[in-house]
Symmetry: C2
Subunit: 310 residues, 2 copies
Amino acid sequence: MNAIDTLIAAIQEKQSPIVMGLDPTLENIPTFLKEASISKYGDTIKASVDSIWNFNQRLIEVLHPYIPCIKLQMACYELFGSEGMEVLEKTVKLAKQYKLSVIADGKRNDIGSSAALYAKAYLGERPLITGKPIKSDVDFLTVNPLLGSDSLTPFIEEAKKNGKGIFVLVRTSNPSATEYQEAKLGDSFLYEKIAQDLQQYAKDLQGESGYSLVGAVVGATWKEEQKKLRETMPNVFFLVPGYGAQGAKAKDILPSFDAQGGGAIINASRSIMYAYQNKIYNPTLESSRFAQAALAAVKDMLSDIETLRQ
Amino acid sequence: MNAIDTLIAAIQEKQSPIVMGLDPTLENIPTFLKEASISKYGDTIKASVDSIWNFNQRLIEVLHPYIPCIKLQMACYELFGSEGMEVLEKTVKLAKQYKLSVIADGKRNDIGSSAALYAKAYLGERPLITGKPIKSDVDFLTVNPLLGSDSLTPFIEEAKKNGKGIFVLVRTSNPSATEYQEAKLGDSFLYEKIAQDLQQYAKDLQGESGYSLVGAVVGATWKEEQKKLRETMPNVFFLVPGYGAQGAKAKDILPSFDAQGGGAIINASRSIMYAYQNKIYNPTLESSRFAQAALAAVKDMLSDIETLRQ
């Protein structure tokens, strides 16, 4: 089974098309966790990343039965340099112990030779000087397609080789997505042309599920576009960001699903991670209850999605 | 002085518009360095990155009088995870000790809230829980503009705040650059529209030199395009990749310079780093002479550029 078939099986088993975005920012980590880290390490970067690690760890431990997948926003970890990357690696490892799929959300891109190195870094292996290389635990990487096909193929080739997958930016969830993504190529918008190209790759790379290791990022904030893109890309699985903090609800995501209610996974980050700051999920606003509040937010999101499917 | 004025002053002082790309890959590191690292650390990731560190260190020590700037291809370091990022950080620190400008070539991009974190990571400060944040030593970050203005402005704002700069992908050096970058927006190609937008930002952000903290990546492999882009962006400094291993020579880069021979810096990575594998620069192919061979390649590149300017 490749990474996309594994993800689809887990979505069905857990009846949950939800990705939890673990995109922690220090100011939103509960104070008691930060105080504990300071008492261990002083007020250092080590303490900053330790508090993030403890936050991630608890969320994964409590939520793993309810979600098939986590997504790590690389910017949140790179902010803390090599020590941040260490916590990213620990988080990936923990998630894999719980058999969660892991998306590294790095939106990586470069000319072919460098794209091949990014692909190896996340979807392949770390080289040793003479010994057997060390496999990456990440399952999916997000990729920015601006540089075109010779930049995309190294990611696809590496994914294919290792049974991993990629999600290529097609239509991003931010308001300015219209500015450059709606440039025209013949009769199509640029984002539509990218979608057509992805479907071409996907056709030949289908797993057992009919979906391929080439996925697409399609923002929940664009309802009409989702509908057309679902038609253009029948073999492309969608990663749909924009739920919750960015304003979208389940009804806005309906067009991304296929006729069987599959074909898409919905990301929510801030609305789950920081649910403890929301009285709906944490009436007393007691920060020690952050993981339970996150679970309540996930259950609410699941019932929002469930209502819709019926 | 902001980062772009500092860079321009160093180019003039050293009479050298050259960026050395430090994009090391393990297979091209001289064997004697790799053996030394194995004897210290065994055949581990630690040894892999130690050999890269020793390679970088020696190149910077020998070449710093002849080059104003280094560029670090992030993929080469991310390939080794947190340990690779540690070597990246050490390399940046060493380069700053020699007063070199440093470009982190990460082609980062994301929606606004995450773009702001990438900007902080490389152009701003790492947060502590309560204490004074720790400044990044990097001067410039490369940025992919596909997500549009609300994704670009956090990078520009952070650069402005800290006297740093960015280089935005306008026309990349790879052959497939034509595929999506030549989508049309009105009468312009997408890459031309991006150039027009960058000039708008740049106009209001000029340093003493007349150039702005908003720079552009323009591939040496596109001669006609360079000429037009130089006209479109009079206040935008160019980072020009594609020299050497990608096939371009100095004459191909002429259109990127302004009337005074300024306004651009040329990147070469493989042709400098691995000059020891080239009999022209290292007749005996003795790998212990890698830094001297790199210096010979830089001097050759300088005279290639000099001929042109006359």
